[in-house]
């Protein structure tokens, strides 16, 4: 009762928008459009005869993403609880559809996209947020049971299923992302230390298994350990990324002046856009970008902390964790700190599905923050 009254009192106040979060995200998105253009215009001109090809797609994604963000800002996040099964079901179906010939689009040996006629999308982008939604509901419902195994079982099961479907595509990086997010959410959800350890052991053990299952992963791992050995083979992409980053030096070669975007660095506009940013804007430039991300993460965690409900807290934690995980993995990959795996940089990398989903998720965080008690 006391809590309810408190909430009503807060609700009467002017709805507050987390401006820091909004501006950080919009800045990242706009910066992303600029960098997608810079990184892609040469290749796009050669391949599609239109140097704005990727930029246009990115603008469309940003507009749709903004719409999604605004919409989610106005939809009370509590309502999302009701669609958790729908979201989860849809995600699982879409993930399964990837394997249907004709619908699933195979790119570089992996079926990650489905062709929806008008556009192609990556179901895994949606699935990770569906999982976050489901886990938030499940953990908040579990309440004190979270200390017991049955309280965390649904989260682990659903997380495991999603991971299994994504790794089957195969897509190691989003699997990692979902896995880490699951661990973080369980941790924040109050999982006991014993369970936490029991959970980490199989996850850590699974990594080498997955690596040895697919020969290309092993080759990448070897290439990662000494990329210069195989600079024209497996290590090519990593070496090209390092060239770009190193060429940036402290202040960068200047916007649009990257040398590595001239077809040297594959996926310069998507998974490796961070390298181009590093080349054009230098160490100082990337530090600014990292600070912007830290702001987003900080606001996300703060929103979780101040959320009025456990559900809101977990939801914000999950969304923030996904952003942070993707950011960390992406930078780690392009700097050669972990073996290469394709994962877009949130808000910046070319890719409309990713952009729409991430921006909508920020809308959800904004809504949680709007309803927060402070």
């Amino acid at each position: 009762m006391k809590i309810a009254k408190f909430q009503i009192k807060k609700a009467k106040r002017q709805p507050r928008i987390d401006y820091i979060l909004v501006f950080s995200v919009l800045l990242l998105v706009l910066f992303g459009i600029l960098m997608v253009y810079s990184a892609s215009y040469y290749g796009a001109e050669l391949t599609y005869g239109d140097k704005y090809f990727f930029m246009k797609k990115q603008i469309v994604g940003a507009v749709l993403g903004l719409a999604g963000m605004v919409a989610m800002y106005f939809v009370p996040y509590q309502k999302l609880k009701n669609i958790r099964w729908v979201a989860l079901g849809l995600s699982v179906v879409l993930l399964a559809l990837v394997f249907v010939p004709g619908l699933g689009v195979k790119v570089y040996g992996a079926r990650r996209w489905i062709n929806l006629g008008l556009f192609t999308m990556q179901p895994s982008e949606l699935a990770k947020f569906a999982f976050v939604l489901f886990a938030s509901v499940s953990l908040s419902n579990a309440k004190r049971n979270v200390k017991e195994f049955k309280g965390i079982l649904p989260t682990i099961c659903v997380g495991g299923l999603i991971c299994l479907l994504i790794i089957a595509e195969p897509n190691m990086s989003i699997t990692m992302c979902v896995g880490i997010t699951m661990v973080c959410m369980l941790f924040v959800g109050g999982i006991s230390a014993k369970h936490f350890c029991l959970l980490l052991i199989p996850i850590v053990a699974l990594v080498p298994v997955l690596i040895f299952m697919e020969p290309y992963r092993l080759r990448r791992l070897v290439a990662f350990l000494n990329p210069w050995e195989s600079a024209s083979g497996e290590g090519f992409q990593l070496v090209q990324s390092l060239y770009a980053i190193a060429n940036g030096n402290m202040f960068g070669v200047g916007l649009f002046n990257s040398r590595q975007k001239y077809l040297f660095l594959p996926f310069a506009e998507s998974d490796f856009i961070f390298s181009i940013i590093a080349e054009e804007l230098g160490f100082l430039g990337v530090m600014c970008v990292i600070v912007l991300y830290l702001l987003v993460i900080w606001r996300g965690i703060k929103t979780a902390k101040n959320a009025t409900t456990r559900f809101g807290c977990y939801l914000s934690t999950g969304i923030t964790t996904i952003i942070a995980t993707q950011l960390l993995i992406n930078i780690a990959v392009v700097t050669g700190s972990i073996p290469p795996t394709g994962l877009p940089l949130p808000f910046i990398s070319a890719g409309s599905t990713s952009l729409v989903v991430f921006m909508s998720a920020i809308g959800v965080v904004l809504n949680i923050s709007k309803q927060s008690k402070i």
Binding site: A246, N249, Q260, F264, V286, M287, S337
Partner: protein, 636 residues
């Protein structure tokens, strides 16, 4: 309370998550700092290789010309024309330009121009400069050239082993091409342009350009007029004698300049047989410069020269030959078993009597003899401007027995290169001056700046000039009436000496394998040409006087023809008289038909003069002596 506990727990845990994220971001930032600032230079250095595309700017290899400036080897610049599909704006326009320029059909060119999936497609290779000029005038985006130089030898199979061949990347591999490679090669230029991964030049590209410096032209001592004749004569000699190989060297004894040099068999330098490396290497060896052989009797010139210089003999000296000489209990034969009897030094040379030279070398002695060989440069080499100059092989002084020394006197038990023989003979006949044999007179840039000039090749005074005066007179007799008479050309004052040497294989005399040689020079009073002919393993006749001397005669004849050396008319008449052995018959009163029949039968030619039925008189008169082929004038 319970709620509060949980709330605090969540706060702590969220803080832990935030800290973990911040920690990892910080770690990655440090990694970025290392890559971007600390190690930046080291990494970027490696990247330049892919950012810049190197367009070759090959320097033109220098020409090789003969002593008169006539071309022996040149290099042509040719162009390969490529299209790079990624850069093409209009396939039709590019095709039109290229088809017009190269004379190929539109369809043929279009097929290449429209080919996708390759970064560059070769449209035409080895094109002339004019083709490229046309394309540049009508330039379309997407067309590229590369420059290539190809070596062209004006006569192909000429001076093969001496010139050597050039590898496909333009480096001399053997012979003079290798020896003078650093001058001929020039300095390749450099042109760097910024390009993308596929090599497409970036529009905003910076380029770095360093022009090529063409190679220098090398002028040889070779006289092409003589060389070309020698090539033909030697090839003919090799074939006619069924020899393993045949070689010749023509030198100017005054200067040490090599005027012509040839070894057959050889191959066409424009068509190097690279498939068969073994044969190629075998045929590429300039054996006259690198390989030693036992010179045989031609070496007697050197023995004589040393003996004259030492004063242990003179032109008035007399020797006795009984057909052999017993040295320390071993019998060494003269080639004439019945012996030559008593003979002068000159007769000894004419007869090539071994006994005479055994006696001469006995008088010289081992120590002096070896000293002289060193002075002649036989043991030290001359520093010829040719890779792999050979040195004479002498027995170590300590193991030389008298028998060995005596054999050396007539050119056995000693092995020297043909070049060493000819150069030693040059020294003996030119007034005792040892010259450095050489191939190159001058190295100059294309616009005539002389970089190197071989001005003096004088090495040392080995013999007193008077030795040559006596020696040359005697050697002249060897040709005019001795063993070398097959090299005699009427009206020309040629001196020389023949040689026939048995070949050794694995330390033993190889049965039936001989080296026939002849060394001659002209004129004897002041020699200008020295000719050495070596026929290796002739089948059939193997005497130097029979096999090699006529070859030398042909070479002398070629030299006189090409260098327009007039014969000495007095000498000519004397020479003709000397071997006039046909008595002119009495033809007076014969009819023309009868007279012609008689003269033809005798091997004489005729001319007629006057009108009449019967021959009134003849010139030369009946009873006088004429030579075969002479003309008898019939007067009616």
């Amino acid at each position: 309370m319970q709620t509060k506990y949980t709330y605090v727990s969540i706060k702590k845990r969220l803080f832990a998550v935030m800290m973990a994220i911040t920690f990892f971001l910080l770690a990655l930032s440090i990694r970025l700092l290392v890559l971007q600032v600390v190690d930046s230079e080291k990494i970027v250095e490696k990247a330049y290789g892919q950012w810049l595309r190197d367009l070759p700017m090959t320097a033109k290899r220098g020409d090789i010309v003969d002593r008169n400036g006539a071309s022996i080897a040149t290099s042509y610049t040719t162009y390969d024309i490529y299209v790079r599909h990624a850069d093409i704006e209009s396939e039709e326009a590019v095709t039109n330009v290229l088809a017009n320029a190269t004379g190929k059909s539109y369809d043929e060119v279009f097929e290449k121009v429209s080919k996708r999936g390759y970064s560059e497609v070769l449209v035409a290779s080895k094109q002339e400069k004019e083709v490229v000029n046309y394309i540049i005038k009508n330039y379309q985006e997407g067309i590229f050239f590369t420059e290539n130089t190809s070596r062209q030898y004006t006569y192909g199979d000429l001076l093969t082993q001496i010139l050597g061949f050039v590898s496909s990347d333009g480096n001399g591999q053997s012979g003079l091409e290798a020896k003078y490679n650093k001058y001929l090669k020039g300095v390749n230029g450099l042109s760097l342009v910024e390009s993308d991964l596929k090599g497409t030049t970036l529009s905003s590209s910076l380029s770095y350009f360093l022009p090529a410096i063409d190679g220098l032209n090398v002028q040889l001592t070779i006289d092409l007029n003589i060389q070309r004749e020698v090539e033909e004569i030697i090839e003919r000699a090799r074939v006619e004698n069924g020899a393993k190989s045949a070689s010749a060297i023509v030198m100017d004894p005054e200067s040490g300049e090599i005027l012509a040099i040839c070894t057959k068999p050889s191959y066409d330098l424009n068509c190097v047989p690279r498939d068969d490396i073994k044969t190629l290497l075998e045929l590429s060896r300039a054996t006259v410069l690198t390989d030693v052989y036992e010179p045989g009797s031609t070496f007697k010139i050197i023995t004589t020269a040393i003996a004259l210089n030492e004063g242990v003999t003179s032109v008035h000296d007399y020797f006795y030959c009984g057909g052999f000489r017993i040295v320390n209990g071993v019998k060494i034969n003269c080639h004439r078993r019945s012996g030559h009897g008593s003979q002068s030094l000159e007769q000894g040379l004419k007869n090539s009597c071994n006994c005479v030279f055994m006696e001469l070398i006995r008088r010289i002695g081992l120590e002096k003899f070896y000293d002289y060989l060193e002075k002649f440069g036989i043991t030290t080499g001359y520093g010829v401007d040719f890779p792999g100059e050979g040195r004479g092989v002498l027995m170590p002084k300590s193991i030389v027995k008298d028998g060995d020394l005596f054999r050396m006197g007539f050119g056995q038990s000693i092995a020297i290169t043909p070049l060493e023989l000819i150069n030693s003979v040059c020294t003996a006949i030119n007034g005792g001056r040892l010259m450095q044999p050489h191939f190159v007179t001058k190295i100059a840039t294309a616009d005539g700046n002389v970089v190197f000039e071989n001005k003096s090749s004088f090495l040392s005074q080995v013999l007193s000039p008077s030795v040559s005066v006596d020696l040359n007179k005697m050697l002249r007799e060897v040709v005019s009436s001795g063993g070398g008479k097959h090299a005699k050309i009427d009206g020309y004052d040629i001196g020389g000496k023949t040689g026939t040497a048995q070949k050794y294989q694995n330390g033993a005399i190889a049965d039936g394998k001989y080296v026939a040689s002849f060394i001659g020079f002209y004129p004897t009073d002041k020699p200008r040409y020295t000719v050495l002919v070596v026929v290796d393993e002739p089948s059939g006749a193997y005497y130097g006087g029979v096999v090699a001397a006529p070859v030398a005669k042909s070479i002398f004849q070629a030299i006189f023809d090409t260098c327009e050396t007039p014969r000495d008319e007095n000498l000519y008449s004397r020479d003709r008289l000397e071997h006039a052995d046909i008595k002119v018959p009495n033809l007076i009163g014969k009819t023309l038909t009868e007279a012609v029949r008689i003269l033809t039968a005798l091997g004489l030619q005729y001319l007629t003069m006057g009108e009449g039925e019967k021959v009134k008189d003849t010139i030369a008169a009946a009873g006088s002596m004429v030579s075969s082929g002479d003309i008898v004038l019939l007067m009616f």
